[in-house]
């Protein structure tokens, strides 16, 4: 079904069941944060896991999606679904421009360029009038869906976040398993051969880049609706590094890896937050452990042991 293998269908059913039951057991706002970052990580994984491009500045798209959607909700009175759509458009447009520049170089250069471009966005966010500089955009109203379904209740907005997350998750899964996705994987495995087969590799890379940044922007838009703020935190390079870590820990190139990674990293931050910089140190340790010991990530290791694709 939809390109899901049997184990993946089971995993999907478990994930949906957890999403349905979790808000009755855990704090809904925390769960919504996890889903926003899980969607962000899935979008990032589309690039690193399936095209082999390490973008080190994905926070720029997430953060700008966050800003634009917060601004639209507060100043223009956009409804919730339009805010998320605006987040997608912002991320995709920015990604199309930056992607066109970054794909001119390969490998590590690509990563350094995406990082530098994201830093440009960070400076823009500190200077531009509409972002509110150091203060960010605060007290963003929780815009109603379609203009009349109120989102004031945590459970109501939880349903919205869950729906957008699942839609994004299924969209990414669909992209990966489409003929377009097959070409992306071919580029990852052997770029010169893909070129010699007649594929316009750069067009495919750019398309994948813009899709990934668009979904990242939508995740950002969603986050600004949940928390009612958009701040500089979401456009820093540390945020970009964190999403790399999330995806690496869960498993690069696995469908469920980024979700598991987001659950672990966010839980870790939640409990370590009172200890200041130990969050950073722990993240560094996890990074090193992932790179040195288990490069397949948690879900990747499980899938390899069980000999299934997850």
């Amino acid at each position: 079904m939809m390109g899901f293998s049997r184990p993946q269908l089971v995993a999907l059913a478990v994930m949906i069941a957890v999403i349905v039951v979790a808000p009755f057991v855990a704090y809904p706002v925390f769960l919504m944060k996890v889903m926003c970052f899980a969607l962000f990580a899935c979008a990032f994984n589309l690039l690193i896991g399936y095209v082999g491009l390490l973008s080190f500045g994905h926070a720029a798209y997430f953060g700008m999606g966050c800003y634009l959607s917060a601004y639209a909700a507060k100043s223009w009175g956009f409804s919730a679904e339009l805010c998320v759509a605006l987040g997608f458009v912002t991320g995709a447009a920015l990604g199309a421009v930056f992607g066109a520049i970054a794909i001119k170089r390969q490998g590590i250069y690509f990563s350094m360029i995406t990082l530098a471009l994201a830093q440009m966005v960070y400076f823009f966010a500190t200077q531009a009038a509409f972002t509110g500089g150091e203060d960010g955009i605060q007290q963003v109203p929780r815009a109603p869906v379609l203009g009349f379904i109120s989102m004031q209740n945590d459970m109501a907005i939880y349903v919205l976040v869950a729906v957008v997350f699942l839609a994004g998750f299924l969209l990414i899964h669909r992209i990966i398993h489409s003929p377009f996705g097959m070409v992306l994987k071919a580029i990852r495995e052997n770029e010169p051969r893909a070129i010699s087969l007649g594929y316009r590799v750069n067009d495919y890379k750019l398309m994948a880049f813009a899709l990934s940044t668009g979904i990242a922007g939508a995740a950002g838009g969603l986050k600004s609706l949940v928390f009612g703020i958009a701040t500089l935190t979401d456009v820093t390079w540390q945020a970009s590094g964190e999403i790399v870590l999330t995806t690496l820990l869960g498993g690069l190139g696995t469908v469920f890896g980024p979700v598991i990674g987001a659950v672990i990293i966010n839980t870790l931050e939640f409990y370590l937050a009172p200890f200041g910089s130990w969050v950073t140190v722990t993240q560094g340790v996890i990074f090193i452990a992932c790179v040195m010991a288990f490069r397949r990530g948690i879900v990747g290791e499980i899938a390899a042991r069980a000999k299934v694709a997850l």
Partner: protein
Amino acid sequence: MLSILGYNAGPLLAQSILGLINGAFYALLSLGLAVIFGLLNIINFAHGALYMLGAVVAWVLLNHLSLGYWPSLLLAPLIVGAFGVILERTMISKLYKLDHLYGLLLTFGIALIVEGLARNEFGSSGMSYAVPESLRGATKLGFMIMPTYRLWVVVASFVMCITTWFVLEKTSLGATLRAATENAALVQAFGVNVPRLVTLTYGAGVALAALAGVMAAPVYSVNPGMGSNVIIVVFAVVVIGGMGSILGSILTGFGLGLLEGFTKFLYPQGSGVVVFVLMVIVLLTRPAGLFGKAT
């Protein structure tokens, strides 16, 4: 007073000197990055954190062991260089056979740990480091008066850069290094201990970063975040200059510092982004960088 294009020349000169000082640090850091990248094929993300570590070590030496600036200028790079050697032996050396991206991710993790620990120990605010006695005051340069310490930074880092260039391009050690960059297996066959060469190169590149850190301590305050602020600019410098030549990275470093200074004078808000804008322009016109070889 002199004037250039209707602008008063005084502030312009002052800003370009400030820019030149930033440029001196960019040059030292991008030089270390280029040397490490040349031989190890690794983008050392930890470079900024080790630059910060150099400054912190100098501060600790001064405040806990009463060792002043001049001993620190030698000791801090040695200590940080030794730390670099340990990092290379225990972790980085295990990754040479893998995709370059893993090296980037590993060194990023190292940077997070070093910075996080420094923040835990010293807090986020800066700690001041006094200018050494012998370099206080100002020097008259004919066209302007400049704080002696800043003049020293520019001259010292320029000399350091040229020395590195000389060692790499004109000595037999440099020739071996360059040969190992081209074809490590062949150089090994000639009886050179390439793994040791690689380790020492990483140590030397890192020591260069620490040296920049010690020199930076009196100019900027010693601050756990100082490395992460500068490393991204240095990455842009490296992209603009291209990894092809040592001289290229020195010239680009100083040049971009100057450019930043000019921008601060003409349009202060733009000084933070001018390097990145130039990077975009260079990528669109010369994707391999100003001094890089086309790949």
